[in-house]
């Protein structure tokens, strides 16, 4: 079997998800044994101008330049993987969409804001077709490896469409609600092995919302904790603001 040619590209993001690959340690070599990495700007100077079997896209699409670039990559790629929350759901970059674009530009650049064009933050699939989604901020390596295997096998990967709570319970964590704080686990897609709660934090919803969350009930539950409504909304759209773009 010929090794598929794989390339990494980054858009607006923190590049932490790419770093997650390096964090696999010598496991990276197993991945490299199965794939032929032809382009990866962060760690490689080599460039590739033919077709890619697999293009891995990190980061959100935040300006027209990025739209052009991602469109070109899509044309050259047989399989396109959205990698990390920024790519799959817009992620933290989406918080920008909470503000008027001009307002946020002025805030940051002052009077010269007009020089710095920006658009509403979008997830990759809101611009081009995506074949596989690797959720998470950062991505959860065991899931990423599972997806790479699915790519090799030529089969789909279904992102779990059930709540983080499922994994959280299996890990026998004390529920955050028992500790008297709220948690976005019940409306967030599982697959991270309830990473944050295992470490005593709450779920912030980085893997995106369920396809059919019971939002009304979730808000009712959150409201019981006497948090101002703006904070609840802030909390629910820290990662998930781009959901509103159709």
């Amino acid at each position: 079997m010929k090794k598929p040619k794989i390339a990494f590209f980054d858009f607006a993001c923190c590049e932490g998800c790419q770093l997650q690959v390096a964090n696999m340690g010598e496991g990276v070599l197993d991945v490299l044994a199965a794939f032929d990495v032809v382009e990866w700007r962060e760690v490689m100077s080599e460039k590739w101008d033919k077709k890619y079997d697999v293009a891995i896209i990190e980061g959100s699409i935040t300006d027209n330049h990025a739209v052009e670039r991602i469109t070109k990559i899509r044309k050259k790629a047989n399989i396109l993987i959205a990698y990390g929350s920024c790519a799959t759901i817009g992620g933290v970059n989406g918080m920008k969409n909470n503000f008027e674009l001009d307002d946020i530009r002025k805030y940051v650049y002052g009077e010269s804001y007009k020089f710095f064009p920006t658009e509403l933050t979008k997830a990759v699939h809101q611009v081009v077709k995506v074949d596989y989604f690797v959720n998470g901020c950062p991505v959860y390596i065991p899931e990423f490896v599972a997806i790479l295997k699915a790519v090799l096998q030529g089969i789909p990967y279904y992102v779990p469409d059930y709540a983080v709570c499922v994994e959280c319970k299996l890990n026998e964590n004390i529920c955050m609600y028992d500790k008297g704080v709220t948690c976005l686990g019940p409306v967030t897609r599982a697959g991270c092995n309830s990473w944050c709660i295992n470490n005593g934090n709450i779920c912030y919803g980085c893997r995106g919302m369920l396809s059919n969350p019971n939002e009304k009930s979730a808000r009712d539950v959150l409201a019981k904790y006497n948090i101002p409504i703006e904070l609840i909304i802030n909390k629910m759209n820290m990662y998930n603001k781009c959901r509103e773009i159709i």
Partner: protein, 440 residues
Amino acid sequence: MAIQNLNINVEYLTRVEGHGNIVINVKEGKIETCKLEIVEAPRFFEGMLRGRSIFEAQHITSRICGICACGHTLASIQAAEDALGIIPTSQTIKLRKLLLDLEMLDSHLLHIYLLVAPDLLGVKSFVPLINSHNEVVRRALRMKKKCNDVCDILVGRHVHPISAIVGGFTKLPEEKDIENMLGLLQGMRPDMEATVELFSKLKFPDFERDTEYVGLVSDDDEYPLLSGDIGSTDNIRLSKHDYRKITNEFIVPHSTAKRTKLSRESYAVGALARFNLNYDKLLSEARRVAEMIGLKPKCINPFLNTAAQLVECVHCLEHAIGILEEFKKSKINYDEEIVVGLNENRKIPVIEGNGVGAVEVPRGILFHNYQTDEKGCISYANCVIPTNQNTGNIEYDLKKLIPEILDRNEEEITLLSEMLVRAYDPCISCSTHLLNIKFM
């Protein structure tokens, strides 16, 4: 004969974090343009933070950069605690120091092995090294993984740490965790020796330019990373609250970057700056390595920033082991474990305030500054990133370097300029948390 006309345009500089271009234009032996453009899309973090709970600041700002996420986390927590008037316990401070050691170690190793070593070994990336220097690549990945594993135990993960938050830690390592971390780090020593061995043989380019170096300084005898005042090799010393006087951020008309300057037209931060400022406070193991590779303060060859990183690796590894050994003896106090949340039940009192965090992260000193309103929501946020502070300096370096090497061929010139930029380990994803930077 020296090159008279030269046009270098490195689009998408590789092996740095983020997108940058180097543009150099020489006409009739004279430099016309010499700039480092950053074309990464801006991300507007400070803008997005407005109106959010101060308790979310560290979670969000960690996402400015995945490479130094722990550094951002620590700077952010420090700023938030400063604003809220929270004084962390000594156990918390120790654990944070441990985290910072790991961050330094992890990031420096990544830079030294995966980003710089290919240049020194004459290849384009670490991929060909898998065949030619398999043991080196394996060692690099192994060391990286160990740092990562220790971080996993300490704070859940290295990229965007989970349990380090305002007030302390949401999960404290159990006794067996301390053992495990210690075992992993002690197990890293032979690999560290081999690393020193390898790099002591490699040759860095000769180049010097006198520079003002800026970093944390303190009065105690610990190499200051997590806290201290701000000092410079031009003998300036200021409190972190005066960070604006130091960074003097300004926007130049032809650039989209905020620039910084102190006593001179530019200054440098990072491993070399720290080394130059605090050489005496390095642990003896690290000083020994410095001697071995011939690195002495004040060193003004920017290429040797990588060597200073190597020295810091040794320091941080030993320092981290020291902290863990102490915890092994004195035991963790689990009553200090805290419950996270948007401070929903007002467990931590919030006040109107203004706080600054100044932390040495791998690429230099990092400032976070928040103002909170009486509800504990952020009304103003500002982060000053090391790479932004270095940009001016990189360009002045380039301007001095290019004329000195015009007798080489274009490829070599390009490579050397790339190497110079890379030596600073610029983290462009960090710098564009805010701005579309152009190094002019």
